[in-house]
Every structure is written in structure tokens, then in C-alpha cells.
Amino acid sequence: MTAEKKTRGRGEGKGGGEDAPQPVSKPLLLVSWLVPGLGHWLLGKRVRAVVFAAVVAASFITGVLLHGEIAVPQQASPLSWFFTVGCIGNGMLYFVRLLWVNGFDGLFSASFPYGLSGGGDPVAAGFFYGKTFLYTAGLMNLLVVLDVHDIARGDKS
């Protein structure tokens, strides 16, 4: 089966059967990303919603408590964008932490998006552990968004 056939869905080619993939609402994916678990909650998957929200939040809070640093773009390091994208996966938690660390003035400085502080304490014993928890939380929430996409599309129950 070709990739094109896979993405077009199962119903096509049979006169547009009723099992064709549903269109996915982009606002649903947006809220799913911004608030971990909310996408599943809106889709009626309440248990999964609570578990995902708890796991992502617990991982993020553990990372912050361990003095970990959230990833921010750095001009001298293009690879920092990869880490930033992973960490932005935390959605609202990421932006709240960024605002907490930098304040409004620091957040919207002239050099934006560079020059931001990711917080944390590099001297702390838990610094790298904290970063691991923060990145893990972000990547897990990105997987949650993909899961919401699959459920909304009808590919998964």
C-alpha cells in the first residue's frame, strides 16, 4: 500500500464509505498541546486525560524542583532549537515557566527570541536530571497531541 493511499483513508475508493477519516479540528490540537490532557477530555477519554495531565505535570514540576533549565533558543547554538521545540511541547507550562523566569520585560526584549533565560541552577546537583524531566514532559505531551489527532481522525479508539 502506498503512503498516499494510507493518508487518504480506508473509505475512499469505495464510493466514499462511512469509515472515511474524520477531519481533525485544529483548535482541538491546539488546546491539547497547550493544556496537557484537555484534548482527550474533550474527546470523552476522561481516564486517559487525567493520567496524561498528571504525568506531564508531575514530570514538569519535578524538573523545575530539581532546578532544571527549560530549553531556550541560543544564537550560537542552532541545535538549541531542537531542544526548544521539544521543551515547548509542554505547552502552557513552558510559557508560564518562561514568564516566571524572565518576567514580561525579559520576555519581550529587543533580542527576542534570543537572550532568554531558561531558569534553573547549573551548579545544582539536580540540574541535568531536572532538564531530563522537563524535556521528557515536553516530548510526552507532543505524543499526547498526536494521540488526540489519531482519535479525532477515527484511526484509534
Partner: protein, 55 residues
């Protein structure tokens, strides 16, 4: 800071997450949770011991 506790906590969170992400039934979730948790938790300790003789 207890490294062992952090290892346990991280493995627990990730194992719960993937159990609920990849399995829909209770039995499947328990099995995947146990498998993932043990691989991460016991595997990390085993790797630590294996690395012990190396400088």
C-alpha cells in the same frame, strides 16, 4: 538528592504514560507498564553495574 529515587520516579512516570498511550485494555496496560518499568529501572541498574569496571 537520591539518584535511585529519581530513577524510580522517572521510570514510573514514563511507564505509566506509555501504558495508557499504547494500550486500551486494563490487562494490556498492566503488562506494558511492568515491561517498560522493569526495562528502564532494572536495566539502568544493570547497565550501571556493567559499566563499573570501566574507567
Amino acid at each position: 538528592m537520591d539518584h535511585f529515587l529519581l530513577l524510580f520516579w522517572h521510570a514510573l512516570l514514563v511507564a505509566v504514560f506509555f501504558a495508557f498511550l499504547w494500550r486500551s485494555d486494563s490487562r494490556g496496560r498492566k503488562a506494558l507498564f511492568l515491561k517498560t518499568f522493569l526495562i528502564m529501572f532494572v536495566g539502568a541498574i544493570a547497565l550501571g553495574w556493567l559499566m563499573f569496571p570501566f574507567p
